[in-house]
């Protein structure tokens, strides 16, 4: 499996997706740093590039680098599940280049056109102004087509292979809601309460249901690959995970319905179910420790192993602990919509998804290059710097967020003046400064990570086109 000869065409595409994803990860960090700088020096790049467009780039690209990494992960891992190449690879390649062109066009629009008059046309061509799905509708159409083709690649292959394993069944069934929920990226409902009600289906059911299931399935595939874990065990565990995640996460959506006009019963339902969400994540930590203890002797890919482990811990800390802190309605009333939220958002996305996809990328560069062993020092530096940076940012934002919740929300009554006063308290300012410093550390970690991945790809036994991770000269099937 690790021999270069056996690279499937979907795996070649996977390497392209990983290249794109790592590049987008870098773009996202640049805009995160700019936004963090504007908190300290509001005149930075103002008004040429005001905070709203910077944040738009940061969070829109966040979704994209993770989504493209998910595509890459499945394109990489699935052929061995199906024991054949994926179908529809020609269309999938077209989608890849369509994505690249669309992302570039949207980025240029966001940076240079930015906004437009309050008409439907603006929403189609320039900006939809809805968090995480800011891309103009034409681009959202491209993304929807891309996801649809991807769903076809997977389901079509299952049909062609006449073979559905438990893991692939989970992936296939999960792709349907994942795609369906994206349709919420299109409407522009006049009524903000209804708009937010459905928008949370997209945001919450992506990150706390469908993505959680998807990353669970990906980790299951990785475990079978790097640890030779037995299929029945891995599948049983995946079903348990899915059962618990859905049992708590579906009604857990109520933690977003406390204050947007919805009825009061969501305070109880949302608080209760979302407060249970950490428990399955704790189970995953136990599982990670168990696997580490049982299988570590077979480790040929240290970075993939450690990033997988961290995915379990990071998911528990970022989503479980940080989410739990603010999920009861009595507390959320004050913490809601502050830097505290941002603190949780960063740690949760990083822990649950960032770490997970990085581990698959390490696995892919190893297998693509036919390396017996991946190790060395660089990946450790990347690991250390990225995590110091991220947990440092999370801690800084927690301090800033607590100060904001306390002074603005609890004492000040959330007026304009209360907002401004809270932003100028020493606690808040120190938190915001520290976030910037840790952001630089994170950025340094990213540089090492990208350098390390490129170096491993270059060292592969086959010729590699300069500057890309794609293995061009490998034999095909």
């Amino acid at each position: 499996m690790t021999s270069v000869r056996s690279l499937y065409s979907s795996q070649k595409l996977a390497l392209r997706y990983f290249t794109l994803s790592v590049a987008l990860f870098g773009v996202m960090i640049v805009f995160g740093l700019v936004a963090a700088t504007q908190y300290i020096h509001p005149s930075f790049l103002f008004p040429a590039l005001a905070f709203n467009m910077v944040k738009t780039m940061h969070v829109d690209v966040l979704i994209l680098w993770l989504l493209t990494a998910f595509f890459g992960s499945l394109f990489w891992l699935l052929p061995s599940e199906f024991k054949r190449d994926l179908v529809g690879m020609r269309a999938a390649n077209v989608v890849f280049w369509l994505f690249c062109a669309t992302i570039a066009a949207v980025a240029l629009t966001f940076l240079f056109v930015q906004t437009g008059p309050g008409t439907d046309k603006t929403l189609w061509l320039i900006n939809q102004g809805r968090k995480y799905v800011e891309e103009p509708r034409w681009a959202a159409v491209v993304v929807a087509i891309g996801i649809a083709v991807f769903v076809y690649n997977i389901i079509g292959t299952a049909v062609a292979a006449k073979r559905v394993t438990g893991i692939t069944a989970v992936i296939i069934l999960n792709m349907i809601p994942l795609f369906g929920l994206y349709m919420i990226a299109f409407p522009a409902m006049t009524n903000m309460a209804l708009d937010q009600f459905w928008w949370w289906w997209l945001v919450h059911f992506w990150v706390e249901a469908t993505w959680e299931v998807l990353i669970g399935a990906i980790v299951a595939l990785v475990l079978m690959r790097v640890m030779n874990a037995s299929r029945s065990v891995v599948e049983t565990w995946l079903y348990i995970e899915v059962a618990l995640v859905l049992a708590t996460g579906v009604l857990g959506i109520g933690h977003h319905y406390f204050w947007m006009g919805a009825p009061k019963y969501w305070l109880g339902i949302g608080g209760f179910f979302s407060a249970l969400e950490p428990l399955p994540l704790l189970g995953m930590v136990i599982h990670a420790v168990y696997d580490a203890g049982e299988h570590k002797m077979k480790m040929t890919n240290q970075p993939a192993f450690y990033w997988t482990m961290l995915e379990a811990f990071g998911n528990f800390i970022g989503a479980g602990v940080w989410g739990f802190m603010i999920t009861l309605p009595q507390i959320n009333l004050f913490a809601h919509g502050t830097q505290w939220t941002a603190s949780h958002g960063h740690l949760a996305f990083w822990g649950a998804y960032g770490c997970g996809v990085i581990s698959v990328i390490y696995l892919a560069v190893q297998e693509a290059g036919g390396h017996e062993q991946i190790g060395g020092r660089a990946w450790k530096w990347a690991f250390g710097l990225l995590n110091t940076g991220m947990y440092g940012m999370g801690g800084s934002l927690l301090i800033a967020g607590m100060a904001q919740a306390f002074y603005e929300r609890a004492i000040g009554g959330s007026t304009f003046n209360a907002y401004v006063a809270a932003q100028q308290t020493p606690w808040f300012l120190e938190g915001i400064w520290m976030r910037w410093v840790f952001g630089l550390i994170f950025t340094a970690g990213y540089a090492v990570l990208a350098g390390n991945l490129i170096a491993i790809a270059r060292r592969s036994r086959v010729p590699v086109a300069a500057g890309t991770l794609a293995v061009e000269g490998a034999g095909t099937r």
Partner: protein, 207 residues
């Protein structure tokens, strides 16, 4: 043992999904009724013709919006069709200018600028922006500010000039007046509103 059988857990996953989604759908149907325009928590758009407030309701231990007497916006009384069109335009402006990539409404959005849920009722319009913009009503002060935020900087962070036309600015103001009338279960807590006063009383109470 059955707990070690994948089939058992597969059935468990499927049934927990079905049960939870069934409950979710039932609650969703109910919630949609409550949050649709004219539902229990979300007043019709014509509420912009009325005086809005936000008070601490002792019986519920939370802050609730109040709607009383008439208080026309920009001196107009909007009928239902006009109000709907105005609010619709307001929403389009809010999206097309990416307002919620700095601000938030109902606490959702970004955190670089204040939450706008009750912005209509914020005392700061009267205290700071009416004198600054040389206007005499909150609505006019908001329009003046929204059209040229760069002319009225208030602190280190400035709002960029997003080139709103007067119509667009008025639509946004109407939108914010409407959101301030929505019952949000007491969020934001402790907001000391500068309530609208029904027409006749205005002079006596406020000036």
């Amino acid at each position: 043992m059955y707990t070690r059988d994948p089939i058992f857990w597969r059935a468990g996953a499927a049934s927990s999904l079905i049960v939870m989604v069934a409950i979710l759908i039932a609650l969703t149907i109910n919630t949609i009724g409550v949050i649709s325009v004219g539902g229990a928590n979300v007043p019709p758009y014509t509420v912009i013709n009325q005086a809005i407030g936000y008070v601490d309701d002792d019986s519920q231990h939370e802050y609730v919006p109040t709607i009383s007497g008439s208080d026309p916006l920009f001196g107009h009384v909007y009928d239902e069709r006009q109000a709907t069109a105005l609010i619709h335009e307001g929403k389009l402006v809010i999206q097309s200018r990416a307002c919620l990539e700095c601000h938030s409404v109902f606490g959702t959005g970004a955190y670089f600028a204040p939450d706008l849920t009750k912005s209509w009722l914020d005392p700061v319009w009267r205290q700071m922006w009416e004198p600054m913009t040389q206007t005499h009503t909150r609505a006019d002060a908001m329009v003046a500010f929204l059209m040229h935020p760069d002319k009225y900087p208030t602190w280190t962070r400035e709002m960029p000039n997003l080139h709103l036309t007067r119509d667009e600015a008025q639509a946004v103001v109407a939108y914010l007046k409407w959101t301030s009338s929505i019952n949000t279960n007491g969020f934001p807590f402790g907001f000391q509103a500068d309530p609208d006063t029904p027409n006749g009383k205005q002079a006596a109470v406020n000036r």
